[in-house]
Amino acid sequence: MVLGGLVASAIGIVLGLAIDWFPTITSAQADQVETLYDVLVIASVPIFVLVMTVVISAVIRFRMRPGQENEDGPPIHGNTTLEVIWTVLPALLILGLCAYSYVVLQDVEDVSASEAAKELNIGVTGQQFAWTFTYPQEVSGGDKPLSTTELVLPIDRSVKFDIQSKDVIHDFWVPDFSMKIDAVPGITTHYRVTPERLGTYPIVCAELCGLGHSVMRNRVRVVSEQDFQAWLQEQSKPAAPENASPAQLAAAGKQIFTGTAGCGGCHTLADAGTTGQIGPDLDQVLKGASEEEIRTDIVDPNQTIAKGYGPDVMPGNFEQTLSPSELDALVAYLEEAAAR
């Protein structure tokens, strides 16, 4: 039995650790958390296996055999030493785990002085049902703080998010970073991450916030420092050059539709190759829509609610998050895309 138990727990632990359940490690924090998780697995699997083994072997060894119908077990009422042991040992184990988690907590939340110096500070605003990100002026280099619906982070640089909410409680979570915190109306919450891996990762709203909760998604792009700077340049200059040709304008608009503004997340539009299901299929509804209609549809979605859809699903803040030129480009693009 003891042997069986040992083998079983060995297998259990190996399974727990070998199969890599975690998302790929992409931040210093995630690294810490996964180690903690491994420790927790090593600590808890044996406990579960212990209980399992005792139950199973009890069933095997002390199962009522024919003829024992009226027999009773020995009247054992207790055993102090045993009871002390199984009170003290778990207590110690628990305290050990707590102490370790406390250390990890410090590590994932604080930042070394050297890091702090070049730390990036990004504002995150949750709103039914979309995220908006604000890069401070000194970072964006533009004439005003840069606010966009696209999150781009430089690699290996500690980022501090200041998270707020415009309406109800949301939760800003990047699973691959292993960090999350609620966006609470009325207060600003924070957390830090240090991205350590290039790539594009999902952003998820993890707190029930209404009918659009499941679609309150976005993407974070982790890029090299210079790509980051380049992107900032890109953002701060107007979407399309002054007096751009309709073609250029449309091209810019298309890029905004699929990228910056994330319209494609909710809307199907053949020309842009997006297949979102939350909002109406723009190929259908925009047929013959005038530029004005389209513009109001975007800046004030609740003015006309498309048939079969609820109000307050489509974010009402695009006028803020998109620069006028971007908006023009977007509208121009939608108009001609619809025309096709």
Binding site: W21, P23, Q32, V33, L36, Y37, S44, F48, V51, M52, V54, V55, A58, V59, F62, M64, N70, E71, G73, P74, P75, I76, G78, N79, E83, W86, T87, A91, C98, S101, Y102, V104, L105, D167, V168, I169, D171, W173, P175, D176, S178, K180, I181, D182, A183, V184, P185, G186, I187, T189, P202, V204, C205, A206, L208, C209, G210, L211, H213, S214
Partner: protein
């Protein structure tokens, strides 16, 4: 069927009057203030829900006695005609017999298990594939919100109250509960709550869809369906407070002579601790819903940050109830399992006193951990670490119980019939759920998995693998006592094994997809989780069907099972010393308790004896003098 005699017809009338009253009140007041529209749908609905609920109870006759008492009219002396149920009709009227009420509770709760389970099936059907198939996101949110609310407030909590209602007075040698009429009232408040939850689907804007946690400010500006939850919970809460109060008084003042506290069966101890939790904690959820109601109906600003409100306050108040609530949903199960393991292993409970004390320890600790639901809520950071420690420490008293049960099994003579199987299933599955709970207590890990399917997995391992398994065990164990018939052992075993396997296939993978990053409460999810979700959905349908085996078994056995002897399990506790089902008044004479409840294996040991009539006068209750007033 006259409309003046208490009963369902008059209850219908009461509902009608209640709704009428609501219109009159709202219309009157609004007209007086000259507001328009004079008839404001939402306002009327909110008043109507309360008025109709009370109207139903009054009509049913739950208050008749007190009304006469209030005006000092000669109250009808209890002629005990209400005792016992002679036809199924007797289960549909206000009945003060704790055995009838117990059955009403249990059956009613199981009906709601099926309903709540059906919602779960719909949830799983929607989640079987990514994208939206059957319901729109709003309907989906409604489904899991009602699923959870029904299973918590109308299944787990009441079904435990029901089982205890039936066996607890018998176990302590009392002829009935301390306040039989209050007992009846607490039962009849449940259908009111249940029907409200279900009716919410008819509300404009759909049923309440903010989860069973109904966080503000989402709940304060949700569609009107939310009010059905807000007010329904008031009735459910009032019901459990009343029952808890009843249990406490019964246990303290009505124990049989010789039944000192340390001779009480552990089920009694469990319900004693649970009732303490209920009396102290439940008022908080009532208040939290009052706040929401006031914000919605009268424009209060508890949660309006622009006017100085504080949204985190809701979570603190809510969890100060709802964490203890999770132990309200587990401790009675601990009691049931202690009974069954001792009897089926034919051994005394190992470490009886520690078992009792650990219950009390859990009660005390349970009030010190609520913020472990708020690690990522943005609350003051310093609260987290103390709460992490207290939370994890609860593993110690719980561990004491688990290990003592294991020791009880050891060297016993295990009768592996259905109740025992479910008890053992509980032992293992609850341990797993509890351990995942301890992992959740570790803040950095919780930060990663909070609000993911890892939580959903934890919930179901403790609530389904924990609470529900003990409930199945208890129902099978006391079925002969309650119905006077034996259940079908073969079907019972089938039920256990299908449930046990399908349950694990359903909920174990949820740990995995949770850690991988699938959030909870989402109608749609990333394609990477598609495979597992399909698997889970299929498994969950098997869980559903396995539940049908149970339903079938109970129905046929109740109607045509073999007659049960008084004490089929050779148990020592008092409820088994009387006929099955017990006589209308439980005992001809109150028994005298002469030993512990679990003296199995001790030659010739007895727990209680029924001496003749003279018992009452001779045997002086140990440590308690007859009260005088």
């Amino acid at each position: 069927m006259s409309l003046r005699a208490p009963g369902l017809p008059r209850a219908g009338l009461g509902v009608a009057l209640g709704i009428g009253l609501a219109y009159a009140l709202v219309g009157g007041i609004r007209a007086a203030y000259g507001w328009d529209p004079v008839i404001d749908g939402d306002a009327v609905l909110q008043v109507a829900l309360i008025a109709a609920g009370l109207g139903f109870l009054i009509g049913l006759g739950a208050f008749d006695y007190w009304f006469r008492w209030a005006i000092g009219a000669p109250t009808v002396p209890e002629d005990h005609s209400g005792h016992g149920a002679h036809s199924w009709k007797d289960y549909f009227r206000v009945n003060t017999d704790h055995k009838v009420i117990g059955v009403q509770y249990v059956v009613h709760s199981f009906v709601f298990l099926l309903i709540g389970g059906m919602f779960a099936m719909l949830v799983r059907a929607e989640l079987a594939q990514p994208g939206m198939q059957f319901v729109n996101p709003n309907a989906y949110n409604g489904l899991f919100s009602v699923h959870a609310s029904i299973l918590i407030f109308l299944f787990i909590i009441p079904v435990f109250a029901g089982l205890a209602n039936y066996v607890l007075p018998l176990m302590i040698g009392a002829p009935d509960m301390a306040f039989p009429r209050l007992n009846a009232l607490s039962f009849w408040m449940l259908p009111v709550a249940g029907i409200m939850f279900l009716l919410s689907f008819l509300a404009p804007g759909g049923s309440f869809s903010t989860g069973w946690t109904a966080y503000a400010p989402l709940s304060t500006d949700a569609p009107i369906g939310q009010v059905f939850f807000t007010i329904g919970v008031q009735f459910a809460g009032a019901s459990s407070i009343a029952t808890a109060l009843n249990f406490l008084v019964t246990i303290i003042t009505m124990r049989a002579p010789g039944m000192s506290f340390f001779r009480m069966p552990l089920l009694v101890w469990a319900n004693f601790s649970t009732s303490l939790l209920v009396v102290i904690a439940t008022p908080f959820i009532a208040a939290s819903q009052f706040f929401v109601l006031l914000d919605r109906a009268l424009g209060f600003n508890f949660f309006d940050v622009t006017r100085g409100g504080d949204v985190l306050m809701y979570q603190h108040v809510f969890w100060f109830y709802s964490h203890p609530a999770v132990y309200i949903m587990m401790l009675p199960g601990f009691g049931i399992v202690s009974e069954i393991l001792a009897v089926k292993a034919r051994k005394p409970i190992f470490g009886y006193r520690m078992m009792a004390f650990s219950l009390l320890a859990i009660v005390v600790l349970g009030f010190t951990v609520w913020a472990h639901h708020m690690f990522v809520s943005g609350m003051q950071e310093w609260i987290r670490v103390p709460m992490m420690i207290t939370t994890a420490v609860i593993a110690v008293p719980t561990g004491i119980k688990i290990f003592s049960w294991l020791a009880t099994l050891w060297r016993g003579v295990l009768h592996l019939d259905t109740p025992m199987l479910f008890a053992l299933g509980f032992l293992t599955m609850f341990t797993l759920g509890g351990i995942s709970g301890v992992m959740l207590a570790m803040i950095p890990f919780d930060i990663h998995v909070s609000d993911t399917y890892f939580i959903v997995a934890h919930i179901h391992y403790v609530l389904f693998g924990g609470s529900l398994f003990t409930i199945f065990a208890g129902v099978y164990y006391w079925f002969p006592k309650m119905t006077g018939r034996m259940y079908d052992e073969r079907l019972g075993k089938w039920h256990f094994w299908t449930t046990f396997i399908a349950f694990n296939c359903t909920f174990a993978p949820m740990h995995l997809i949770g850690i991988e990053g699938m959030p909870r409460r989402v109608a749609d999810y990333a394609d990477q989780f598609a495979g597992w979700n399909l698997f889970i959905s299929i498994a969950s349908f098997v869980v559903g069907l396995s539940t049908l085996i149970f339903v079938y078994n109970i129905v046929i056995s109740w109607r045509a099972g073999v007659r049960a002897p008084a004490n089929p399990w050779r148990a020592l506790t008092l409820e088994w010393q009387v006929s099955s089902p017990p006589p209308i008044f439980n005992f001809d004479t109150v028994p005298t308790v002469v030993g512990g409840p679990y003296e199995y294996g001790v030659p010739g040991a007895v727990h209680g004896v029924f001496k003749g009539a003279e018992v009452k006068t001779t045997a002086a209750p140990s440590g308690a003098a007859p009260a005088g007033d």
